[in-house]
């Protein structure tokens, strides 16, 4: 019971926080500051030669993020295969 009340309080506080936060964000569809994105949309074709600006951001401007993202996928695959492995070697069992 006590846990439920604590949980409820945490939930209400967090949701109130988030709603308050997003209410004060810029109106939807009309961002205030766009300098960085405008630069990328203007220059992506010339600097990277890619017509797809999102691809230019992913693999050029924010390439390290994508390398990290690929690494995370690699990590998860390695982790899954590690956890599902047989805990005894084949030669030991036979």
């Amino acid at each position: 019971m006590r846990r439920q009340v604590t949980g409820l309080i945490v939930l209400i506080v967090l949701v109130a926080f988030l709603v308050l936060g997003v209410m004060r964000t810029h109106p939807f569809g009309h961002p205030d500051a766009t300098a960085m994105d405008d630069y990328i949309i203007e220059n992506a074709q010339e600097e990277t030669g890619s017509n797809n600006v999102v691809a230019a951001v992913l693999f050029d401007y924010r390439g390290l993020d994508t390398l990290g993202e690929a690494t995370i996928l690699f990590t998860a695959v390695t982790g899954v295969l590690l956890l599902l492995r047989a805990s005894k070697r084949k030669e030991e069992t036979s």
Binding site: E47, T66, R85, A86
Partner: protein
């Protein structure tokens, strides 16, 4: 294992799914899509095969060892592509302006040329290889484990 109808249809459909996935990967720099998306498309085909056939059946053609090496090599190609820019800066797009994928499109809307983007198409291919191998391995390993088999080392 599902009925013969499902298996036959799945066998035919997988070709189209793989072709579409490869298209999405290869054109990542000019149309919506890229390595992750195209890879996910192909893995959805693998999942379809997994549903149509059993995981034991699929294991014969997709070895986990092979998938592991494929995934590692995809990752290694990606990081090498990042490393070749280190003459200037890590992740520098060295291929822009060279004959290989070096074309620079005119500013503004246009039909898009395949030979553009520098290292971006190559990175898309590397990521695609990685995603296909990695996610297939995960799906296959989970399916095998639920049917009581553990992954070999």
């Amino acid at each position: 294992m599902l009925t013969k109808i499902v298996r036959t249809v799945a066998n035919q459909l997988i070709v189209f799914i793989v072709v579409f996935g490869l298209y999405v990967i290869a054109h990542g720099h000019i149309t919506p899509g890229g390595g992750f998306q195209g890879g996910a498309v192909i893995v959805s085909g693998v999942v379809m095969l997994l549903v149509a056939f059993s995981s034991q059946e699929l294991k014969k053609s997709l070895r986990e060892r092979v998938l592991s090496i494929m995934e590692s090599s995809g990752a290694i190609i990606f990081i090498i592509l990042a490393f070749i820019g280190i003459g200037t800066v890590f992740f520098y797009n060295v291929l822009v302006g060279t004959p290989i994928f070096g074309g620079i499109p005119d500013f503004g809307p246009g039909p898009g040329d395949f030979w553009t983007g520098g290292v971006i198409p190559l990175m898309n291919l590397a990521v695609g290889l990685k995603v296909i191998a990695g996610l297939s391995a995960v799906v296959l390993a989970l399916a095998l484990f639920s049917s009581g088999e553990e992954v070999e080392e």
